[in-house]
């Protein structure tokens, strides 16, 4: 009963905050502006079928890029002060002075945060997609709607993973600025640094690329050895599998390009990671010294 009461209040406090409104507006506008670019006329003449395919591909690619970039930011910004901000502002002391257990407090904070996160992700996606559908004059089929719902669910899982990480950092630290910086650092490493550092790391591990000479008429062509490419791809996947973005991209590519999910491993990794991070936050908060 107390958890339900607290969830209601926490959720109300989050959705009334400027942060929540700003995140929703920014995410929606960014998605819309990205999607509007697909309406740019192309010089290449295509038949109707090829044109629709190209448009569909462009929409999927744009959504995919924007979601991979923005969703982690939304999740981190929403979670970074969930615990540390409360400690800083003294709200935790006020709550803990009531006849309520610590696990009830953290559980309510997490549930309320997840509900707000769901709104923060679903509202922009739904708004942007319906606007673009109207602008392009497309009537979505039931299959399209099912696919989009599936996709939104996957985006939610991705957001959940980053949110859990952010809550864990917030619980471990007592300073919200430090939690925000740490969250953004992790995101930068996962999304930008590690993917760009990987080629250099692989080169350190397996050495420079090896080439094979092949004769094509009078020209000698240098082709990278197939064995090297195979090794490179395997090591690259292994390194990037430490990032959350890699697992989401694998699901997103399946959904947006092949229109169905065949390999659920990425989704399972994200869910297991989220559960572990939330459990760790729970333990850290319950054992935390509030000074």
């Amino acid at each position: 009963m107390k958890v339900f009461e607290l969830v209601k209040v926490e959720f109300g406090d989050i959705v009334r905050s400027n942060k929540f409104v700003a995140l929703t507006v920014i995410f929606t506008l960014m998605l819309l502006s990205g999607l509007c670019r697909v309406m740019e006329p192309t010089l290449v003449t295509e038949n109707q079928f090829a044109g629709v395919r190209r448009l569909g591909f462009e929409v999927a690619r744009t959504i995919g890029d924007f979601v991979c970039f923005l969703v982690p930011i939304v999740a981190i910004v929403l979670g970074y002060d969930s615990i540390s901000g409360k400690i800083e502002k003294g709200a935790i002391k006020a709550l803990l002075a009531q006849p309520i257990y610590r696990d009830q407090v953290i559980l309510s904070v997490i549930i309320a945060g997840l509900l707000a996160l769901a709104l923060n992700v679903v509202i922009p996606l739904a708004l942007a997609l319906s606007t673009i559908t109207l602008l392009l004059g497309i009537t979505p089929t039931l299959g399209d709607i099912v696919l989009l719902t599936e996709y939104m669910a996957c985006v939610m899982v991705f957001a959940l993973a980053y949110y859990s990480l952010s809550v864990f950092i917030s619980a471990a630290s007592s300073n919200s600025t430090r939690s925000l910086v740490a969250g953004i650092m992790v995101w930068l490493v996962f999304s930008f640094m590690l993917p760009r550092l990987t080629p250099a790391l692989i080169r350190l591990i397996i050495g420079p690329p090896r080439y094979e000479q092949t004769q094509m008429g009078n020209i000698i062509v240098l082709k990278m050895s197939k064995e090297y490419i195979k090794k490179y791809t395997i090591i690259r996947s292994k390194i990037l599998s430490f990032t959350l973005d890699y697992h989401f991209r694998s699901i997103q590519d399946q959904l947006l390009l092949s229109l169905s999910i065949r390999d659920y491993s990425g989704l399972i990794v994200l869910l297991v990671f989220s559960a572990a991070a939330l459990l760790a936050s729970f333990i850290v908060f319950v054992k935390k010294e509030v000074r």
Binding site: K86, E289, V290
Partner: protein
């Protein structure tokens, strides 16, 4: 029957609202173990306005957090309203009204909404009515719709007190309640606390601001570097300090002369004598009122009194003594 009633009153007076024994809290930092509270034996009588005095970092808030069950003690024991601070902390939080230092509420909710949340969490009966009463008591009724983030510091403190009063508690624990309040606000705050005390509530206040709220205390404990240096009723402590310090007398005369000062200084007990703003201040090593008056009468004295130690004298005597001993 009357005898029984008399006995029960006596027992009640002897009963302590807060009692601790060798209560200790250690924090582990990266480099060392810090003892924030060191073997504290505290006794807070029921019905008192008890001041826990100490400088910043003396360990007052840590001690209060242990009493409220927010932090677990490293060793020692304690009871608040007869409930064990470790095993029955939930009961304590049900019964005690607590206003923490730097208290925060939900920023985007109004004063009334915030109090309703805390009333529901504390399972207060007729929560809406009680919230209304508490808002009126602390003078926030006209500001009940104002969002917490839009309130002034004084209003926030008053909301904190209203939150502590929601449970209609027998014991109120207030941690630095006057921090950030203007002088008028402090005056109203003091009046409110005195009124609450008259209703029979025990009030336990921690503060490092002696001049603001200290005059209302009936009992005090002075904390320094995690230890209780001294505790007792203000009267007892004044006497104790008086026996440790010099005796100061103040006299007003019709005229002042160097001869008078010389004559006073000729007494063995007098350490210092000087005139200041039409007053003659005489510092002695032991009580010497009669000897001084004999001289002063010759010069025509208008008034004569002993300057008793104030709470700040008590505080500085003990804290300075403790700091001196530790170096």
């Amino acid at each position: 029957m009357d005898i029984v009633c008399f006995r029960s009153i006596c027992d009640c007076e002897k009963m302590m609202a807060i009692e601790t024994e060798k209560l200790t809290k250690e924090y582990r930092t990266k480099k060392k173990i810090v003892r924030a509270v060191d073997s504290v034996d505290l006794r807070v009588p029921r019905g008192s306005i008890f001041g826990l005095l100490g400088e910043n970092g003396a360990g007052k808030s840590t001690l209060i957090h242990m009493l409220m069950g927010i932090t677990l003690p490293t060793s020692g024991s304690g009871k608040v309203l007869e409930y064990d601070i470790v095993k029955e902390s939930l009961k304590i939080r049900e019964k005690v009204g607590f206003m923490p230092e730097n208290l925060g509420f939900y920023e985007n909710l109004s004063a009334e909404q915030n109090l309703l949340v805390f009333a529901k969490l504390a399972e207060v009966k007729n929560s809406e009515e009680r919230v209304k009463e508490c808002l009126k008591v602390v003078g926030l009724w006209n500001y009940r719709q104002r969002k917490y983030k839009e309130m002034s510091t004084g209003m926030k403190q008053r909301l904190g007190l209203a939150q502590a009063l929601l449970k209609d508690p027998e014991l109120l624990i207030l941690d630095e309640p006057t921090a950030g309040i203007d002088p008028l606000g402090i005056k109203l705050f003091k009046e409110l606390l005195l009124e609450l005390n008259r209703e029979g509530r025990t009030i336990f206040i921690s503060t490092h601001l002696l001049y603001e709220i200290a005059p209302i205390f009936t009992h005090v404990a002075i904390m320094c570097r995690g230890k209780i240096v001294v505790q007792g009723s203000v009267e007892e402590l004044e006497k104790k300090v008086a026996s440790r310090r010099e005796y100061i007398y103040e006299a007003k005369l019709f005229s002042y002369s160097q001869r008078l000062i010389k004559e006073i200084l000729s007494l063995n007990v007098v350490k210092e004598a000087f005139s200041e703003k039409n007053k003659l201040i005489i510092k002695c090593s032991r009580p010497a009122a009669s000897e001084l008056l004999q001289i002063l009468f010759k010069y025509g004295v208008r008034s004569f009194k002993e300057i008793l130690p104030s709470l700040s004298d008590i505080f500085y005597t003990y804290v300075k003594g403790e700091l001196h001993e530790s170096f």
